[in-house]
Every structure is written in structure tokens, then in C-alpha cells.
Symmetry: C2
DNA sequence: GTTCTTGCAAAATATTTGCAAGACG
DNA sequence: CGTCTTGCAAATATTTTGCAAGAAC
């Protein structure tokens, strides 16, 4: 079984040809992609199919959803193989010049102290700035 | 001079009647609002005026832009009176049930270590979950 | 055959701009 | 006057859904 089939299985997502295509495209990018970027990367697929696939992935916590930066919401594969525990959380960096979003591994998402009776489901930390390439 | 006129002056924004209306509405809400919410709060103003005012506020760092959560981008006044130093940064909490975004004061935004030659302009930390009211 | 998945078209949301009229100095 | 601001309408962009056809089991 392929890498992405395994990932889908781990998250309880049934593997189909198109889902595999989308998972592969996301994995190959190694940074979060917008729906538009995915559409451009996989010209054979309709955007509604991509949208619905991402919805399925989201429902099974198989993607991280990164909001912020222009061009809309971005998605990346969650490489965690545990459906409930996300050991792949990390900070993201949005370059305001080239409009790409990068993953910053190696830094924990800080813990948050919530007010009483607030409960947490997820946290996201996005840094804006200029990336190395655009700075040179 | 009124509180919000002072804030505009501190950020180098010329005060007009409409801008004052919008600043007041944002201040009164004490949580970040979407353009839609602002439109509903100030029925006398057209959304394009609100949009352009928010653009001006953004250009002068007079608002925080909070992305994430449904219903689109949210805006709140930046209460810092220093145009360049933002001493009003804080974490936000998005309630997935009532779709409101709250400010969590009293917790520093953690420092981020960027890779070499990456430069930072701003950082945002958004927590998703269920708020007190919705939990009860 | 029943259920899940897909593509096309179109609806629903959100954001942004053109342009002429008005306010301000 | 000349510049900045505003409202209305319309264009973009983005996300989401209806529905019928096709694939999977």
C-alpha cells in the first residue's frame, strides 16, 4: 500500500483515485496550498471535486487548514497517523511578497490558558513576513 | 477631542464623520467584527465605504486583522497609540458554535524563531473551540 | 440495485473597483 | 478649483450546492 493510502486509512478515509491524486499533490508541494493552486496542479479534476475531497479530509482531520494570507484558505496534509492526536502541528509563515505559505517545523505551538469554561479544539499560529528568497 | 479621534490622530488617519462611526462601532463591540457585522451595526453606511475605511485603517495599522473562523475576515481596533509599536497584540478565540471571536488578553504572543533571512512583520494566534456561553 | 463519488453548471458569499456626485479645504 | 471621501452599481474572487451520470461494492 502506498504512503498516501496508508495515511487515508489511518484517518478512516476511503481511498479513491482522485483522493490519491489530491493527497499526492499536497504531499509533493510540502507547503499548504489553496484550492486554486490545487486546481492548477491537477488539471483533470473539477474544483467541486477538490472541494468535496478537502471537506472529507477535513472531517477526518487529515488536513490542516491554514487561514490568513491572500488567495484564500490553504490546506496541507496532516502527516500524523493518529486520527485524534495531531503530532504534526506546527507554525506557518506567510510571505507577503511571493504569497507562499511555509511550514516552520521544530517549534512547538505554545500552550494557551483559556478562560474558565472555554474549551479548545485547535490552535493556529501564523506569522507574516518576507521569506528568504524574497529578501535576497 | 474624543477618544477615537485621538486614536486616529495617533495613527495618522484623518478623522471624518464616517470613520468615527466605524471606529466607535468597533470599539463598542469589544471583539473583532466582520465587515458584515459592521454593515449591520451601521445601517447608514454602504459596505464599500466600510471597506475603504477599513483599508485606510489597515494601512495605518489602526486595526488588527483576524483571519480564521467563518464569515470572513474580522477587524478590531488596535488600541496602541504608537503607530509602529503594537502594544495591543493578543490571542484570539473563535467559538465554533456561536461564531464569535473573543480577545484573550493577558497572554503574550510567543516569540518565534524564524529561519535565516526570513523577516517578520506580524504574527497571529487564533484558538478554535467552544466559548463559555455555548458550553453551558 | 444501492450507496458513494464525480463533473458540470449555477448559486451563494465575500471582497473589490469604476465612476460620478458630494464634502472639505 | 483641486483633492479626498462617499454611495451606488457592478465586477471579481471564492466557496458551496443541485442534480444527474458514473463508479464501486
Amino acid at each position: 500500500m502506498q504512503r498516501y493510502e496508508k495515511l487515508m486509512e489511518a484517518h478512516g478515509v476511503k481511498s479513491t483515485a482522485n483522493r490519491l491524486l489530491i493527497a499526492r499533490a499536497m504531499g509533493a508541494a510540502s507547503r499548504p496550498l489553496t484550492m486554486k493552486e490545487l486546481e492548477d496542479a491537477i488539471v483533470t479534476l473539477d474544483k467541486s471535486s477538490i472541494f468535496r475531497t478537502l471537506t472529507v479530509f477535513r472531517e477526518h482531520n487529515m488536513v490542516h487548514v491554514i487561514e490568513g494570507g491572500e488567495g484564500g484558505v490553504r490546506y496541507e496534509l496532516c502527516q500524523s497517523h493518529h486520527p485524534d492526536i495531531d503530532d504534526d502541528e506546527h507554525i506557518h509563515f506567510y510571505c507577503e511578497r511571493c504569497h507562499r505559505t511555509f511550514c516552520l517545523y521544530g517549534q512547538q505551538l505554545p500552550n494557551v490558558v483559556l478562560p474558565p469554561h472555554f474549551t479548545l479544539t485547535s490552535a493556529s499560529f501564523l506569522v507574516h513576513g518576507i521569506c528568504e528568497e524574497c529578501n535576497s
